[in-house]
Symmetry: D2
Subunit: 266 residues, 4 copies
Amino acid sequence: MGDLHWETKLSHTTENGIQIRGYDLVQLIGTVPFPSVLYLLFAGELPTPGIAKLIDAIMVASIDHGPGAPSALAARTAASGGAPLGAAAAAGLLTMGKYHGAAVQDAMEAIRQVAELANRESGSVEAMSHAADTVVAEWRQARRRLSGFGHRQHKQQDPRLARLFALAHEAKVPGNYLASALALEGALKRSTGKDLPINIDGATAAILCEIGFPISLSNALFMVARITGILAHANEEIEQMPPMRRIDPVDHSYAGPADRDLPVPP
Amino acid sequence: MGDLHWETKLSHTTENGIQIRGYDLVQLIGTVPFPSVLYLLFAGELPTPGIAKLIDAIMVASIDHGPGAPSALAARTAASGGAPLGAAAAAGLLTMGKYHGAAVQDAMEAIRQVAELANRESGSVEAMSHAADTVVAEWRQARRRLSGFGHRQHKQQDPRLARLFALAHEAKVPGNYLASALALEGALKRSTGKDLPINIDGATAAILCEIGFPISLSNALFMVARITGILAHANEEIEQMPPMRRIDPVDHSYAGPADRDLPVPP
Amino acid sequence: MGDLHWETKLSHTTENGIQIRGYDLVQLIGTVPFPSVLYLLFAGELPTPGIAKLIDAIMVASIDHGPGAPSALAARTAASGGAPLGAAAAAGLLTMGKYHGAAVQDAMEAIRQVAELANRESGSVEAMSHAADTVVAEWRQARRRLSGFGHRQHKQQDPRLARLFALAHEAKVPGNYLASALALEGALKRSTGKDLPINIDGATAAILCEIGFPISLSNALFMVARITGILAHANEEIEQMPPMRRIDPVDHSYAGPADRDLPVPP
Amino acid sequence: MGDLHWETKLSHTTENGIQIRGYDLVQLIGTVPFPSVLYLLFAGELPTPGIAKLIDAIMVASIDHGPGAPSALAARTAASGGAPLGAAAAAGLLTMGKYHGAAVQDAMEAIRQVAELANRESGSVEAMSHAADTVVAEWRQARRRLSGFGHRQHKQQDPRLARLFALAHEAKVPGNYLASALALEGALKRSTGKDLPINIDGATAAILCEIGFPISLSNALFMVARITGILAHANEEIEQMPPMRRIDPVDHSYAGPADRDLPVPP
């Protein structure tokens, strides 16, 4: 061991294998689903079946947001200039900054603050409502944007939300953080006078709080999911489009398979 | 529709939802696992159960390769300089070039060439062996590196291989491309005089050929899986390590949970 | 010295300074202009005054190409998503692939091939014309795009060209590679029937050949110059624009200082 | 003009040219040096001769910091994995985060705070010293790192500093911000009890304050300069080194031209 010796708690290779958090990768292959091994790497332990299902659901909900998402457009722009697939995907990944794709972490922070503040008091509905008012006031005073609330695109409630909430209910999460998120929605209405309903980032944040997901890796979870869509868009650009085209961010349409229902499982 | 109008076959957003290749994303959430929705985005259709399991297995096999992988080191270096998590991950992603993480695509190409060449003849074992000799000779003449064969680290056979091959067998893949990969192994031995056994990239390539995975997105599959490990390493660097440290690529050890067995399912 | 010891010929730090190719950086500061120190790092020696002036001129010619360049658009897209300045610039840099910004290297290769082929014969105008025909035929057969010829935007001849050629003339370059570039222009006309006049990439390539600039770093020269414009665009986006806006690649106009002449030096 | 119309104050292309801040690029080529055109793009106006010389000097001072700089190591790591030159440079650029290469902007902010605070009082040496104490106390209370002071590598004073200060003196800058930087050095000593002398980032920051350089683009200036070194290191890795090597961050030596003096101008 030299002066520069350092340690990791994540993984290591041996002469004939790789260990992830103490588990033999070979045993994980084909036994534990990918989103659960992601959870193992990120959170340190294998998830319970309920948590495993929620992580998978959140990843599917984040996998793509159509061709007009900034990350897809940046990846296509890079691909159009002749970047290879990985470099184009990196350009897309770099587009996921504080406004796009990084909202979950901020929302988790606010939701946790509400829950902790309310718990220090009675934990009642009134206490939570009061705690949410306090957090909203503090964030507004610090001129900090409260992510996770308000729609950008969907006129009606984003239908992904009801689905995620139903799955959280099925997984029997305690529900304290979901209540905090709803309390924040109410407090925002009282404070701003505007309807700023919880959005997909806020819902994801509340569920990740419920399952104890590490807050510092919440955006990372989104990035793994979304880079999938980014890579698909970049590859379509490389394979189907003329190089160096002007990529209109709005004037595009869908030309793939028509709307269809999921096949009924046999 | 203006002059710049363009079309995608991947996905689109509507007023109240997102459609992926014609399927409502909301129906996919919690119903179809993440690796299968990735397959839908990349290949255009939902996978059969057998293919779904293989995609998941390949992603788990690729999720991390310990702290000494170049992509993990580059991400840690960026994080150590103060890069935020996404930028550090992008630095790691950019490290996956033609030598690291891009081998699967090249191997798929060679394996397909062998299979096609052999099929044009009798398709017999001899024909395949002969086809492999031809492909190896052509690649060597073009001074093109034949990826997917030969070990870098594992002294013995990488144990991930046997696991992946067993799963491919379970999924009842036809086996033609697996045979081509083995034929290439033999041809390399005859041509170079060296043992260059099929490695994890070659095995992944053969299985992806078996399930008709789009060759242009094979490296993308690896990137989605591996960026998970990259993000975990970058986050550990940000949270646990002093900034601006000299990161030794070899002198590190594992300090996480001791070796442990998978919990027995109830 | 351990097993991993390695060597560089570029630079090293000492207890009280930095040496670039053997020169004390402190002596270079304020004495040798930045483009000449760049040349020192890239080519190994300080440039002659004539070469120094040409390098500076090529860098100025490449510094920016307006808000519609793909690299500027990608950097703005990343900045608009909330990426910090450096990450946004990286997204722009990644956009400079084989079609955008990487043309100089390919053009240098073709120009050198013509010059070498012509020199092996008589070196006469006829020999050069014949050599250009040969190279064009070979590249077309290899389905390789001959960069550096043909306009994308400027209807008339790009006025940067005349300026660069005049400076090359002033610097008394031998002129052999400039002649090769013109020969390629003629050969392209004969081969394709189309007017594909030498463009800014081709002119840059010919001049870099004249001054013996390392071919592998020709795109790097362009990148250093252009990242300046990329950073200016990314910064304007961060400082002046609303986040998450849809960035139209065409529908923009200039609102800065009106056209003005250079101040007359005192 | 459509709904998405937007404006830039930087540059625009016309049918036969490019205008930078109102100046015809063609007129700038070969007339105005590259660092001055960079200043034009970043600051909006052409620099005075004194400022032009200082910008050039600061860029030369930042062009490279040897093979052990994190950005050089990350770029080499990416290149070693097979990344093309531009992607490798992007990986290096991403390494320039809050600890590495982003120090100038923070230092400018602190230096300006001291100058403004002192000016609001008498502007005397005592007022400046007092102002520096106040700023140091505020930054320490906010747990904000005061960049630009303290050495990482150079045991003695970094010789680049004396050179830059001498050039600033020659350029007859007013000197108020240089005095503020020195006042901060004193205040840090009083507050921490440690010698934390002004370093190259702090000196650069003070000079940029003196010449009114836009604070938001100070790190950008560093990035343009340093990406030159990053590209040189990445290219050396691609051309000279075996792929996929373990890159030791410390165990390397210099094998280029021996120490030499600048040629005496004729």
